[in-house]
């Protein structure tokens, strides 16, 4: 079984306040190093969540921050706190977190990256690693599919309320979604739940759970995407989003440029009330909610496909067909956009 882990790096904040990538295996590219340094949160006085992850150039970066309570007497005399970052090509943060915890413990204990390297290589070749008192790790315990459901959709809906529907439309139409929240842990967990709204695609690679606003990181974003940030300035960057989810301000806004694609009708209203009532209903499990929503989307797509015209052996949908159906206001436009997003239109 493949681990998906690609590389591992140790970032340290020393007593001078410097943040350095002091060790990595295998070598990490310079631009990616800069991103790691910017994202590792070690510069913060207080870190609200020790484990978090994001994505850069298609790789998942899983950070685990460990503070060194006794820098003077420990094996790492000049280090105030450090982060172990495991870069992985598979979306499974829990898997990376489990390994990072063992390797962090080993590093804090020995002060040498050799143990870290040993563990990493061991998992790479054999798929499991016994670090003695630092803990045990086995790839067999983890399933990437389970990772998709870690953050409950219900929490997302409860947080955003009726405005969840805007996010749903944004994701369904493959728009650019930006999420702002001042708490990193909350931000990452909410962003992580968003692809559950379009379960039929099962694509978590649209996520960049958090970015810093700088050229390098913004250039990495390729629409469609869902991007999180703890930097309040992102709220003013209308060039970056079609939908802005402001978790701290509890608002969802649509950019002026995308307003036309977000006109809604009774269909959306009905779906929104389904989501909110289900989220409040304790009897409905989170997975049932995901399944129920997925079925509705599937039905919508099937209906849409039934309208398609056969052309060159492929079923295609055009705006004219939808306009001829005399649908409820704005529904034709919405459906056409859905068809566009699902690649069902005439090219």
């Amino acid at each position: 079984m493949e681990s998906g882990f690609e590389s591992i790096a140790i970032l340290e904040k020393d007593t001078n306040g410097d943040i350095l990538i002091t060790w990595s295996y295998p070598a990490i590219e310079e631009s990616e190093k800069a991103v790691l340094r910017d994202r590792c949160q070690l510069s913060k006085e207080e870190i609200d969540t020790p484990f978090f992850f994001s994505r850069y150039r298609g790789h998942w970066q899983n950070f685990l921050v460990t503070s060194n309570p006794t820098p003077e007497g420990s094996a790492l005399p000049r280090v105030v706190c450090f982060a172990v970052c495991i870069v992985s090509k598979v979306f499974d943060p829990e898997r990376a977190q489990a390994l990072a915890a063992i390797l962090s413990a080993a590093y804090l204990r020995t002060g040498s990256p050799l143990k870290v390297m040993e563990g990493f290589l061991r998992v790479f070749t054999a798929g499991d690693y016994d670090g003695g008192k630092d803990g045990k790790f086995s790839l067999a315990q983890f399933d990437a599919r389970r990772a998709l459901l870690v953050s409950p959709l219900k929490t997302l809906i409860k947080t955003l309320g009726i405005e969840t529907i805007i996010v749903w439309v944004g994701l369904l139409l493959k728009k650019r979604v930006v999420v702002y929240c001042d708490n990193l842990g909350r931000l990452v967990s909410l962003v992580r739940a968003m692809p559950l709204l379009v379960w039929h695609r099962q694509n978590w690679n649209i996520l960049t759970p958090f970015v810093n606003i700088n050229e390098n990181e913004l250039a990495d974003l390729k629409p469609p995407y869902v991007v999180g940030s703890t930097d309040a300035r992102i709220r003013g960057r209308e060039d970056l989003f079609d939908v802005l989810v402001d978790v701290s301000g509890q608002r969802v806004t649509v950019s002026d440029a995308a307003k036309n694609d977000f006109s809604m009708g009774s269909f959306h209203k009905e779906l929104a009330s389904f989501l909110t009532t289900a989220a409040d209903d304790d009897k409905i499990a989170d997975q049932d909610l995901v399944r129920g929503l997925a079925q509705r989307v599937k039905k919508l797509l099937e209906n849409l496909l039934s309208l398609a015209v056969e052309e060159d052996g492929q079923k295609k949908i055009t705006l004219e067909i939808l306009q001829q159906k005399k649908l409820a206001n704005n529904m034709d436009r919405f459906l056409y956009n859905v068809a566009l997003a699902e690649n069902m239109t005439k090219s």
């Binding site: 390297m117 790479f124 469609p224 239109t345």
Partner: protein
């Protein structure tokens, strides 16, 4: 003695302002009402330069009283703070007169003003000059050579000829930002330009030269002060050199401006639908309005409605020959219909084109959407392909190795094991280099930060020093200023006898005081010696008495006949004690008497102010006057 010295000085000063004393007057004790009033009036004139008060008091009592009260009021107005009332003038006493005269002598301006006035007889040409200058200083400034355009008449300006003459040239102040060589002109081209081509400042600014120069100077000064202040607060803390700090600030400002510009551009782009250049231009056309109607549409409507105008410019030749019988109205009607038809046709064509454009726009947007989707899909496909290629390669390797799976797996395992072992060895080797390097870096950094904090401390010190320098510089300036003022004062001081007399007298007084001090010291010493002698004598007496007492007591015990002797001794002793007591009491009483005498003297000096006889006389005179007045009133 001392008082007399002071009186001499006062009298001298008063003589200097032109008061003549009768030869009988030797000190202020000899001042009577007339002399005192004359002195005060003269002094007030010297101080205030006016002539309100007559130098003598009137004869009748009420008039004297009123005049004295007026003088008191005048003195209080001038700032005299001592005890004062009409009685000071009417019943002068030495002490109050002295206080008053001392204050007056102090208050008389010591400048040459007084002398000048005397020299030119008060109303001389100098006074004219002074009044003229004072008058001109109230007229607004106007540069030479200015014309009468832009003349301002100030509110409340009078018709006074001299002021109007000033106003003729009044005009608004305009400044001109001229170019002058500065320290920034370092390169050869700038230097050459400044040297050969730059016109003189006076040419550049023209008739606005003075205000322009003043403005430039003020601006430069303010700039300098502001920069200094900023450098002292922000600049020093930044830890940069002055040059670097300026460069940093410059780039910061440039970035800020760029941001602001790009933001403005972005917002204008967003609003381009409403505020495009075209609409701006057409807006201009419309706003020109009235005589110039610009748009094509308005031309068209003009054409349709203004039939008379059309008729007027119709080329008459063709229509006349073809339909000569048609009346002018019919022709116009026909023409109008034709135009309308044409217009309708054009409109329908316009509609059609608009529709077409809308269609194209719709399809363009759908193509755009398609394109985006396709690009996304393509990207996804590419990723997929890469992944599959990799997988294929992997699977191919596996397929190759499959025939001898067991063996190959074992082989691969051992290979992996070996290579990871090798990697770990390499890692350990690398660690030997890496750890010291990191450590070294951190140590260097720490040393650097240590240096930095040292630097910061030094900077702090420099800052303090700078503050100190500034403070001292300010102090020096202040002192310079003070010195100048004092020098001026010295120059102004009269350089004749006056000073010598003062010095001489002061020195004399000091000498006297010293002599007196020596005397006092001698007397004190004498007193102390005397006291000591007395003490010694008392002790001896006591001892002698005790011895005698014992001796005679013993004798008395032994021999009864000696008993009266002892009694006599006791009585003698007691009597002497009484005598001593009396002597001491007498001393006390003498002292008291002296005190009382001094007190009496004091009271007498004070009472002399209230010369009862004189007051009674004045009161009688006053009553008589009142009676006379009452009589007259009847």
């Amino acid at each position: 003695f001392a008082m007399e010295e002071i009186d001499q000085i006062i009298l001298l000063s008063l003589q200097q302002i032109g008061i003549e004393f009768p030869p009988a007057v030797q000190s202020l004790k000899d001042f009577d009402t007339d002399i005192l009033v004359r002195c005060v009036v003269k002094a007030i004139r010297a101080i205030r330069n006016d002539k309100v008060f007559p130098p003598t008091l009137p004869k009748e009592m009420s008039g004297r009283f009123r005049a004295a009260s007026n003088l008191v009021a005048a003195l209080q107005e001038l700032g005299y703070q001592g005890e004062i009332g009409y009685q000071i003038f009417l019943y002068p006493n030495e002490k109050d007169s002295r206080n008053l005269c001392m204050w007056l002598v102090e208050a008389i301006p010591k400048a040459d003003a007084g002398e000048d006035e005397d020299a030119f007889g008060g109303d001389g040409p100098l006074k004219n000059i002074r009044t003229a200058l004072a008058g001109w200083s109230r007229v607004p400034y106007a540069p030479y050579g200015s014309n009468t355009t832009g003349r301002i008449v100030l509110p409340g300006s009078t018709t006074d000829a001299s002021q109007l003459q000033g106003l003729r040239a009044v005009r608004p102040v305009r400044t001109f930002a001229f170019r002058a060589p500065s320290a920034a002109d370092k390169d050869a081209a700038s230097v050459a330009y400044c040297k050969d081509l730059l016109p003189l400042v006076s040419v550049q600014a023209g008739e606005n030269l003075a205000p322009s120069l003043l403005e430039r100077n003020t601006t430069d000064y303010v700039k300098h002060v502001e920069r200094e202040a900023e450098w002292n607060t922000l600049g020093m803390d930044s830890g940069l050199s002055a040059k670097d700090y300026r460069a940093k600030k410059l780039s910061g400002i440039a970035a800020m401006m760029a941001d602001a510009l790009s933001a403005a551009l972005a917002s204008s782009a967003a609003a381009s639908a409403e505020y495009s250049f075209d609409s701006l231009v057409s807006g201009f056309r419309l706003s020109e309005g009235g005589d110039h109607k610009g748009t094509r549409f308005s031309h068209q409507t003009d054409f349709g409605t203004e039939s008379s105008a059309v008729k007027a410019i119709q080329p008459p030749s063709a229509s006349k020959s073809a339909e000569p019988q048609m009346s002018a109205e019919e022709k116009a009607e026909l023409e109008k219909r034709k135009r309308e038809e044409e217009l309708a046709a054009l409109r329908s064509r316009l509609d059609a084109v608009t529709q077409e454009v809308a269609q194209f726009e719709g399809s363009a947007s759908s193509f755009g959407g398609n394109k985006a989707q396709l690009e996304q899909a393509m990207r996804a496909e590419k990723e997929k392909t890469a992944k599959m290629t990799e997988e294929y390669k992997m699977k191919k390797r596996i397929m190759d190795l499959l025939p001898e799976a067991e063996k190959n797996i074992a082989e691969l395992r051992s290979l992996a094991e070996a290579s990871s072992q090798r990697l770990l060895e390499l890692g350990a080797e690398w660690e030997k280099h890496r750890a010291p390097l990191v450590e070294q870096y951190r140590l260097a950094k720490e040393a650097d930060s240590g240096k930095r904090s040292g630097y910061r401390r030094a900077l702090e010190k420099v800052k303090q020093l700078r503050e100190e320098i500034q403070r001292i510089a300010a102090e020096i300036r202040e002192k310079d200023e003070r010195q100048k003022v004092l020098l001026e004062e010295v120059a102004k001081l009269p350089k004749d006898v006056n000073r010598a007399i003062y010095t001489k007298r002061i020195l004399e007084i000091i000498r006297n005081v010293r002599k007196q001090k020596v005397d006092i010291d001698n007397i004190l010493l004498d007193t102390r010696t005397l006291q000591k002698d007395i003490n010694a004598a008392t002790e001896t007496l006591k001892r002698t008495y005790t011895v005698t007492d014992e001796l005679i007591f013993k004798e008395a015990k032994a021999n009864a006949a000696n008993k009266p002797l002892y009694k006599l001794l006791t009585t003698l002793h007691e009597d002497f004690a009484t005598v001593l007591q009396v002597v001491a009491e007498t001393g006390h009483i003498v002292n008291e008497a002296k005190d009382l005498e001094a007190q009496i003297e004091q009271l007498a000096s004070r009472n002399s102010a209230l010369n009862m006889e004189k007051i009674n006389g004045d009161l009688a005179a006053m009553r008589a006057e009142n009676a006379a007045l009452a009589q007259r009133a009847k």
